[in-house]
């Protein structure tokens, strides 16, 4: 079986923009990939993300669960603790 890779663009907001030192990054992952895998990879690359009060991931503008599957053209965003209002 050949591993198929997908490229994902990850948008970063608030403090995560400072942790990643970018508004967005691109990462390549072996399929199939879900939110839990993505979080693992991100935490390995950016351990400071683990220091946050919480870290949610949005896929196509909706909060995603750990088992949500990701595919190539999804818009993925890091959602650190929100503090509007």
């Amino acid at each position: 079986m050949i591993d198929r890779k997908i490229a994902l663009e990850i948008l970063a907001f608030g403090i995560t923009k400072e942790v990643l030192k970018a508004r967005s990054i691109e990462i390549e992952l072996n399929e199939p990939v879900n939110i839990a895998h993505l979080k693992e990879v991100l935490l390995q690359e950016y351990p400071e993300l683990g220091d946050l009060n919480s870290l949610a991931i949005a896929v196509n503008s909706e909060y995603a669960e750990d088992d949500t599957q990701l595919s190539e053209h999804d818009e993925v965003a890091l959602i650190p603790p929100v503090s509007g209002g």
């Binding site: 948008l11 907001f13 608030g14 403090i15 400072e18 220091d51 946050l52 009060n53 949005a58 503008s61 909706e62 909060y63 965003a77 959602i79 650190p80 603790p81 929100v82 503090s83 509007g84 209002g85």
Partner: protein
């Protein structure tokens, strides 16, 4: 009406958005930039939003409010960008036939907004900046 804006928020305009002859109670909540946090002087706040998702999450809140209370009109406007002490960060107006439901619906909107809507604020002090609630 749901909107994010870099401009100054006009409360009177917000009121006009929701006011009508059939609403006997219009509740307006206004959140402003406070001059201190935990005893430390704040100069300004900087708001950032994931705009597309912020609008869709606000729409969900408004839909819930309309299904739970006899709401006639709702307007929510939230600031993005740099806001000085005393300026308006968020304003919500809810028009209902009677005051009780207007108060309850308005409170539900601001409370839920603070929990689910992807907007972030950074407090700007004389000696630095901190993203609010980011760390324990």
């Amino acid at each position: 009406m749901i909107r994010l804006t870099k401009e100054n928020i006009d409360i009177h305009q917000l009121f006009e958005e929701v006011n009508s002859g059939s609403a006997g109670g219009v509740d307006i909540f206004v959140g402003t930039v406070r001059n201190a946090t935990k005893g430390k002087e704040v100069i300004a706040l900087e708001f950032e939003a994931y705009e597309k998702m912020a609008i869709s999450e606000l729409q969900k809140i408004v839909d819930t409010v309309i299904s739970r209370w006899p709401v006639q009109k709702v307007a929510v406007i939230h600031a993005v960008g740099y806001k000085k002490v005393g300026e308006i960060a968020v304003a919500i107006a809810v028009a209902c036939p009677h005051r009780n439901e207007a108060f309850e619906a308005c409170r539900y909107i601001i409370d839920t907004l603070k929990e689910t809507v992807p907007i972030w604020k950074k407090e700007i002090f004389h000696d630095g900046e901190v993203w609010v609630s980011a760390h324990p």
